[in-house]
Amino acid sequence: MPEPVKNQPVAGWGRYPVHECREYRPEKRRSIGDILGERAQPNYIARGLGRSYGDTAINEGGGVISCLRLDRMLGFDEATGVLHCEAGVSFSTIIDVFLPRGYFIPVTPGTKLISIGGAIANDVHGKNHHRDGSFGHSLIEFELQLPSGEIINCSREQNAEIFWATVGGIGLTGIILTAKFRLRKVPSGFVTVDYLKTKDLDGVLSAIHESDATYQYSMAWVDCLASGRSLGRSVLMRGNHVGPGGLPAAKRSDPFNMGGRFSPTLPFDFPQFALNPLSIRAFNVVFYALSPGGQGVITDCDRYFFPLDSIHHWNRMYGKRGFVQYQVTVPTAEVQAIVEILQAVAKSGKASFLAVLKKFGQGNEGLLSHPIEGFTLTLDFAVNDRLAPFLRELDKTVLKHNGRLYLAKDAVMTPETFRAMYPRWEEYKALRQRIDPDNLLSSSLSRRVGLTP
């Protein structure tokens, strides 16, 4: 019996680009090998919850293997806090199951709607990267099904080379079946947040420099339409987990209960005209003005870590043509790049609803893992005909400052840019040649940046 397949258009979270794919959704572990072995498609790429913005989890004209039905939790060790589960388990489920027991995920991105497979393949980072590194840091080992069908264990000790090619390896080394990683003990489901509004970029940079060491979590929202003397004015949001003693009396007896949350759905695509420099400027002004100032604001983990998750399909806000997220990281010494990019954005009038700035700590050995020590800035742009040339110009700025773009977000970078930004691409490609000589794994992104033919 051939494995059931569904032909359909698939996109990333930015809904650009959209490609026709043949999607598989195995419900059994064994089916992954069957699908790869069948070779009914020219090539395959694994997919989790599709929260990457661009084209890393889509495969034009080829197979997409959704891992979402392989989502069994297999074991939990109370003594060490190590969870063993399949790659399709979502962060959201882990939080539902383990926060009431006093555990949180050590590294979470700005959405909890991601899978373990996606967390590994993009080596995701969170607001605590300066302290705790990326997801790879808490990852102990995983099982990987190679394109040959063989299943191997990868850890820092066993198959270390493949381990570090897979952490941040955008799904091209094999299909991750299961993983073991540490959860973090937390004293409650709440974070105490200190807000700081700064007048300009220098203000936020020096505040980050001075205070990051005392906060586990830190990131800034930047008003990217502010220009001139206000360029880079920001709201810095820093937080630490808080124990029951720090909670209001009503919450102390049930410190892991975050309470319900109102979650509306964005029912349709915003029309193009709804998103214009004016409306976005208004949004930014209002956001800046209304951001709660103050110290020690008690916020539940959902609201603090995943503010956007409360609006289902918020990606429709950018209209039918979708949007591109542009996340750039530059070494600490090259912070001037952030100034230049913000200037270019302010000047272009290309609006970004939210721009986020954060300081990264050290990177890891992942061959294509994104984070490097420095500053990371994230911008959103609605797709239109003038976007690509504008981004090409920004790319030049990034390259000039030895920066790099995050593949989880990217949808437009060229092969030349990719190679310049990820100098270890050659090692990666050589290893891939060894484990995937027939290029059975390939994605729209890997072809676009020249990693696969």
């Binding site: 064994r30 039905r69 069994r72 939790m73 297999l74």
Partner: protein, 246 residues
């Protein structure tokens, strides 16, 4: 230790897995039964880790009829008085065209969908009847409501199963044992992936199933609107129906 327990048969079905999870979330001990024991073990482990309940994985092959007696005895022994009921989700659908020309496929549908269900559930029924409590929840199909050229071999096995449920319900009523017939329309599982235009999630289907058990419903359509779709389909006169392409 959980005070309540259920058996979910055909556990590798996504519907069954969601049913098992929802019972476990309510604090029930669960025995999951499937022929694919590796998968079954993972499903049971998941119940234990997520919900902290007792989760047992018992091997069960629908077509190995002579093992059914021992299987049922083991379930009863393991859960004892905690055993509240059984949900049967096992089923097999071969492609109609293929099954028309291949008796082994048609026969397998009869065996898995009808014979095995009767074989295993009659034994649980006997136990519940004596004990004078319990429920049997049987996942049949809307396909059993009318024979259509595109799916009548599968459909007729489900029709037989639905009729059997009716009789059993009638028999067990005085003993206070309840029988629920579940007729899913399209549910998003490996059985329907890529072949149907829309489908309910297995979680939603499971929720409706647990509710039907709780409310002692007799026959439920899942999702509910299939009741009306099937009402219309059932009422097309046969002289006209036979000319239709369905």
């Amino acid at each position: 230790m959980s005070a309540r327990g259920v058996v979910v048969i055909g556990a590798t079905s996504a519907i069954a897995r969601a049913v098992a999870q929802q019972f476990a979330a309510g604090g029930c001990a669960v025995i999951v039964a499937a022929r694919d024991q590796d998968e079954n073990e993972a499903i049971a482990a998941d119940l234990r880790v997520r919900y902290g309940v007792e989760g047992h994985a018992f091997a069960w092959d629908a077509e190995a009829f002579d093992t059914h007696g021992a299987f049922v005895a083991r379930c009863i022994e393991t859960l004892g008085d905690r055993l509240e009921g059984v949900v049967l989700c096992s089923g097999y659908m071969a492609e109609q065209k293929a099954a028309q020309g291949d008796w082994s496929l048609a026969r397998r549908m009869i065996d898995v969908n009808y014979s095995a269900s009767v074989s295993v559930l009659e034994r649980f029924a006997a136990h519940f009847e004596v004990r004078r409590s319990g429920f049997l929840c049987v996942v049949s199909s809307v396909a059993g409501d009318r024979g259509r050229q595109s799916n009548y071999l599968y459909g007729s096995t489900k029709a037989a199963l639905s009729i059997w449920c009716e009789g059993l319900r009638n028999r067990l009523y005085p003993a206070g044992v309840h029988v629920v017939t579940v007729k899913p329309g399209f549910v998003d599982t490996k059985m329907t992936w890529g072949t149907v235009p829309f489908a309910a999630s297995p979680e939603a289907a499971a929720k409706a199933i647990l509710k039907a058990i709780d409310k002692k419903k007799n026959v439920v359509y899942v999702p509910w609107f299939w009741r009306y779709i099937m009402l219309i389909i059932r009422h097309v006169p046969e002289w006209q129906f036979k000319k239709m392409k369905m």
